[in-house]
C-alpha cells in the first residue's frame, strides 16, 4: 500500500510540474538557508570532549582587591597568575591537573633542508595528555624527573612529525625551538575536536598547538605567553621573573574531578588556598570567591558561540516558517483542485484515513526532494561562509548529524504544512462530486 501511495504521489507531482517545482524550491531554499546557519552553530556549540566534559573543570580564583573590575560577567578573572597556577598544580589534590599557556618558537632542524617556521607551542604539565585523552602514536609524555629537571623535551603533533620527519618514529630525534635543542619524547595523534576548548582566549576555533613542552621551562627559559595577560593593578614589571611573581593573569588551568563530592571538596580547597594566600597580603578582599565550571559551562561562560550566529539561526528558522506558509498555500490549491478525483476514490471505498495518508506521503516526498536539494544549497552557502571567513573553515561543514537532520527537518516541516490541506481533502463528501459527473 505504501509503495502504491508513493507511486500515486509521484504521479501527482508530475501532473503539476510548475507547482511541484515551486514547492520543492521553497522547501529547498528554506532548508538550505537554515542548514547553513545551523551547521555552523552546531559545530560551534558541539561538546568538544563528550565522554568527559562533565568531569573537566577550569578553576577561577578571585585574587583582585575589592572594587577592582575585570571583563567577565561575574567579575572573576578568566585566567590565573603564575604563582597560583604553579601552587595549584603542585597541590596533592586532585590526581589529574595541568596549568598551561600558549607560546611559540621558530622551529628548525639546524640544517638547510627545512626552512625555519613559526609554530605555536603549549607549555604545560604532563597530565595535559591524560586530561584531554590524547593518544600517542610514538613514545609518551615526559616523565616527572624530566619535568623536575626542566629538561628540554617535547611532544609534537602527528602533523608536525609528518612535516619534519616524514611521519616516521621521531622519538629521540632533536628539533630546535629558537636556538634551544629539544629532544622529542612523544608524537600525539590528531585531536578529535576542532575546538581549542582548553584555551579560548585567542579564538576558540584556531587549530591546536603542534608542540608541547614541560611547564617547568617557563621559569627555566623565561618563556612569555603569546596569549593574553591581564593586570588589575600597577606593578613594575621589568623582567619575566617579575611577571611570574606578579598579580597578572596569564595562565589557564584544568583539573579532572570525578564526582560531586570531589567538586565540592576541591571548592573547599580553593577557598582555603585563597585564605592562606590572603594572609601573605597579596590582595585585599572581604569576600573570597572562586569559580569551577566544567567544559560546557566554561564554553558558555566564555561566549564561544558567536552572537551573530545565534541571531542568524533564529532568523533562518523564521525564514523556514515563511517557506512553510508558502507551501501550505500551494498545497491547499493543489489538493482542493483534486477534490473531484478524491470524491470518486472515496465513493469506491477508500477510507478517510487512507486518503489522508496518501496525501501526507505525497508531501513527505516533496519534503525529501526539497531536503536533498536543500543540502546542496547549504553546501553552497557553507562554501560562501568558508570563502568569507577563513577562521570558520573547520566549522563551515556539515557532519553526519546535520546531513541526516536536513531531510528529517524538511520532511517534518512539509508534513506539518501538509496536515491541514490533507485533512481538508480527506473530508470530501463523495456525493457532491459524483453528482456533477
Amino acid at each position: 500500500m505504501f509503495l502504491h501511495y508513493i507511486d500515486l504521489g509521484w504521479r501527482s507531482l508530475r501532473r503539476t510540474p510548475l507547482v511541484s517545482f515551486l514547492m520543492v524550491l521553497a522547501i529547498a531554499l528554506g532548508i538550505g538557508i537554515t542548514m547553513t546557519s545551523l551547521s555552523v552553530y552546531h559545530m560551534m556549540s558541539m561538546d568538544p570532549i563528550e565522554h568527559k566534559s562533565s568531569r573537566l573543570f577550569h578553576p577561577q580564583l578571585q585574587t583582585m582587591d575589592d572594587g577592582e573590575d575585570t571583563w567577565s560577567e561575574d567579575n572573576l578573572p578568566y585566567q590565573l597568575t603564575y604563582q597560583d597556577a604553579k601552587n595549584l598544580a603542585e597541590a596533592p589534590f586532585p590526581q589529574y591537573k595541568a596549568a598551561m599557556l600558549r607560546t611559540g618558537f621558530t622551529v628548525h632542524l639546524d640544517n638547510s633542508e627545512i626552512r625555519p617556521f613559526i609554530q605555536n607551542t603549549r607549555v604545560t604539565h604532563s597530565d595535559f595528555f591524560t586530561l584531554f585523552d590524547l593518544s600517542f602514536i610514538y613514545g609518551s609524555a615526559w616523565t616527572q624527573e624530566q619535568a623536575d629537571a626542566a629538561s628540554p623535551v617535547a611532544v609534537i603533533s602527528e602533523e608536525l612529525n609528518q612535516k619534519l620527519f616524514g611521519g616516521e618514529n621521531s622519538v629521540g630525534r632533536q628539533i630546535y625551538l629558537d636556538d634551544t635543542s629539544f629532544r622529542i619524547v612523544g608524537v600525539i595523534a590528531p585531536w578529535e575536536t576542532h575546538m581549542k576548548f582548553y584555551d579560548v582566549n585567542n579564538g576558540a576555533f584556531n587549530s591546536q598547538e603542534s608542540i608541547y613542552i614541560p611547564f617547568s621551562l617557563i621559569a627555566a627559559m623565561d618563556i612569555n605567553t603569546w596569549g593574553n595577560s591581564n593586570g588589575w593593578k600597577f606593578q613594575n614589571i621589568r623582567s619575566m621573573k617579575d611577571k611570574r611573581q606578579s598579580e597578572i593573569f596569564w595562565l589557564q588551568f584544568w583539573v579532572q574531578l570525578e564526582d560531586e563530592a570531589a567538586v565540592s571538596q576541591y571548592g573547599d580547597y580553593l577557598m582555603s588556598y585563597m585564605a592562606e594566600q590572603q594572609k601573605f597580603g597579596r590582595f585585599n578582599r572581604e569576600q573570597l570567591e572562586y569559580g569551577l565550571r566544567d567544559v560546557n559551562a566554561w564554553l558558555d561562560y566564555r561566549n564561544v558561540v558567536s552572537e551573530d550566529n545565534e541571531v542568524l539561526v533564529a532568523l533562518s528558522f523564521m525564514f523556514l516558517a515563511v517557506c512553510l506558509a508558502n507551501i501550505l498555500g500551494l498545497l491547499l490549491a493543489k489538493f482542493m483542485r483534486r477534490a473531484p478525483e478524491v470524491g470518486v476514490r472515496r465513493a469506491l471505498g477508500a477510507s478517510k484515513r487512507q486518503v489522508f495518508l496518501q496525501h501526507i506521503i505525497e508531501v513527505s516526498m516533496l519534503g525529501l526532494i526539497g531536503g536533498l536539494m536543500g543540502i546542496g544549497i547549504a553546501q553552497l552557502g557553507l562554501w560562501g561562509v568558508r570563502l568569507t571567513q577563513e577562521y570558520y573553515s573547520p566549522l563551515a561543514t556539515m557532519d553526519l548529524t546535520m546531513l541526516l537532520s536536513a531531510p528529517v527537518i524538511a520532511i517534518s516541516a512539509c508534513v506539518i504544512a501538509g496536515l491541514y490541506p490533507a485533512w481538508l481533502v480527506c473530508r470530501t463528501t463523495p456525493a457532491t462530486y459524483l453528482k456533477t459527473q
Binding site: T106, E307, V322
Partner: protein, 401 residues
C-alpha cells in the same frame, strides 16, 4: 466605491488563503526590518574611516631566533634598507599593527600610580620619529618626535618622556581641549603630550575605545616584532613581493611571516561582520522573492477558484478595471493586516535582540521603510494575476449553467 464590504465578506468565506498571506507578510516584515537594520549597522562599521591610507600600507612580522646579532642594531639597518627601497615612502618598527586585532592597551593615568586618579584606556604603539609618516597620519596640533627623543634600548628601566596621541584620546583625557603640553602617566612614568593626531584607529576596531591611540617614541627590539611599511600609491604589490628576500639576505637567522596589507588585515579582523552582512543580504533577497512568489501563487489560486464569479460580475456589467481594482483592494486589506502584525513583531523582535545580544536598538524608520517596501511588493505581485482575471470572458459565467 472601493467595495470593501463585499471583499471582506468574500474573504470570510475563504479564510485560510488570506491568513497564510497575512502570516507570510507579517514574518517577512519582522525579519526584513531587523535584518536591514543590522546590515546598515554593520555597513557603517565596515566603511568607517580609519585615518590611514590603507591601500598603501603593509606590515611584516619577523621572529628572530639567531642570537649572534644585536637586535636593535639589526632593526635599525632593516629600517634603513626598507626606506631606501624604490617605491617605499617610509618604514617603521612597531610593537603592533593598527586594525590588526592584536596589540597592547593600557589605562593612561592622569595622576602617577599609585595615586588614585582617572584612567583613560588607549591602545599604544611604540615607534620612532618615522612612525607618523609611515602610518600616513597628519598632526593636528603640536609636533612630531625629535630623533633625540626616541629611546632605543633593551633596558626596561629607560623610557621616553613624550608621547603623541589621537585627538579622541586627548579630548577624553582633557575634555577642555587643552591636552597639548599636558602630562599623562603609564604607571608612575610621566609623558608629555607633544602632538595630537586628528584621526587614527587603534589595533581593535571593536574596542570600546577604538579611536584612543597613544604613540611612544620607544624602540625595544624584540625577537617577535612587526615592521610597518608605506609605499608610493600603486607600488605596494611590487614592494611586497621582494621585501622578504631582501631582508633575509641582510640577515637570515629569522623567520618572516604575515607579509600582509593593512586592508587585508582589517578584512580578516572584520571577516565575521562581512559574513553576517552577506548572510543577511542573501536571507533578505531570498525571503522577499519567496514571499512575492507566495502572494503571486495564492492570488492565481484565488482567481482560478473564482473564475465563474468573475465571469458573472463581468456579465453583469463590471469593467475590467473593476476586477483589477477588486483584487488590488483585497490584497491591500490583507497586506495592511499583515503589516500591522509584522511591524509589532518587528519591534518586539528588535527588543529581544537588543536584550539578548549586543545589538543597538532598532530604529523606527527601518520598520516603516520595510512596511512600504512590502506593500509595494505585494501590489506588484498581485497586479499580473489580477490583469489575467480581468481577461476572463463574461461568457464563462453562462457556459455550464
Amino acid at each position: 466605491m472601493l467595495e470593501i464590504k463585499p471583499i471582506i465578506n468574500a474573504l470570510r468565506r475563504s479564510k485560510v488563503g488570506a491568513i497564510l498571506l497575512l502570516i507570510q507578510i507579517a514574518i517577512t516584515t519582522a525579519i526584513v526590518s531587523n535584518a536591514a537594520f543590522i546590515i546598515q549597522d554593520r555597513m557603517t562599521y565596515l566603511q568607517q574611516e580609519t585615518g590611514y591610507p590603507e591601500q598603501d600600507i603593509f606590515s611584516i612580522t619577523v621572529m628572530t631566533y639567531g642570537k649572534d646579532r644585536d637586535l636593535s642594531q639589526q632593526f635599525e639597518e632593516d629600517e634603513a634598507l626598507l626606506r631606501n627601497l624604490p617605491g617605499v615612502v617610509d618604514a617603521a618598527l612597531s610593537n603592533a599593527v593598527p586594525l590588526s586585532g592584536s596589540g597592547s592597551a593600557s589605562g593612561m593615568g592622569l595622576k602617577p600610580a599609585p595615586e588614585p586618579g582617572r584612567n583613560v584606556r588607549a591602545g599604544y604603539l611604540f615607534g620612532d620619529d618615522h612612525m607618523l609618516n609611515t602610518l600616513g597620519v597628519e598632526l593636528m596640533e603640536g609636533r612630531n618626535f625629535a630623533s633625540d627623543e626616541v629611546i632605543v634600548t633593551q633596558d626596561p628601566g629607560k623610557v621616553p618622556n613624550v608621547a603623541i596621541v589621537s585627538s579622541t584620546f586627548a579630548l577624553e583625557a582633557y575634555p577642555d581641549g587643552d591636552g597639548l603640553g599636558k602630562l599623562m602617566y603609564m604607571g608612575d612614568k610621566p609623558f608629555k603630550i607633544i602632538g595630537i593626531v586628528d584621526k587614527m584607529k587603534g589595533p581593535w576596531l571593536k574596542d570600546d575605545r577604538p579611536d584612543n591611540v597613544v604613540i611612544f617614541p620607544y624602540i625595544k627590539a624584540e625577537t617577535y616584532q612587526h615592521i610597518i611599511v608605506r609605499t608610493e600609491p600603486g607600488q605596494r604589490a611590487t614592494v611586497m613581493q621582494t621585501v622578504e628576500d631582501k631582508l633575509l639576505a641582510a640577515y637570515d637567522k629569522r623567520v618572516f611571516t604575515n607579509v600582509i596589507t593593512l586592508d587585508e588585515n582589517k578584512r580578516q579582523y572584520n571577516a565575521s561582520d562581512t559574513l553576517m552582512l552577506r548572510m543577511l543580504m542573501v536571507l533578505i533577497v531570498v525571503l522577499v522573492a519567496i514571499t512575492a512568489l507566495g502572494i503571486f501563487g495564492l492570488t492565481l489560486f484565488n482567481i482560478s477558484k473564482r473564475t465563474r464569479q468573475i465571469g458573472t460580475r463581468r456579465a453583469l456589467g463590471a469593467r475590467k478595471s473593476d476586477i483589477i481594482r477588486y483584487f488590488l483592494v483585497e490584497n491591500t486589506l490583507i497586506c495592511s493586516g499583515g503589516l500591522i502584525i509584522g511591524c509589532t513583531a518587528a519591534v518586539l523582535m528588535g527588543q529581544q535582540l537588543l536584550q539578548r545580544f549586543s545589538l543597538p536598538a532598532l530604529e523606527f524608520q527601518y520598520v516603516a521603510g520595510t512596511a512600504i517596501m512590502v506593500l509595494v511588493m505585494t501590489l506588484v505581485a498581485v497586479i499580473f494575476p489580477a490583469r489575467r482575471a480581468a481577461q476572463i470572458s463574461p461568457s464563462v459565467a453562462t457556459r455550464s449553467i
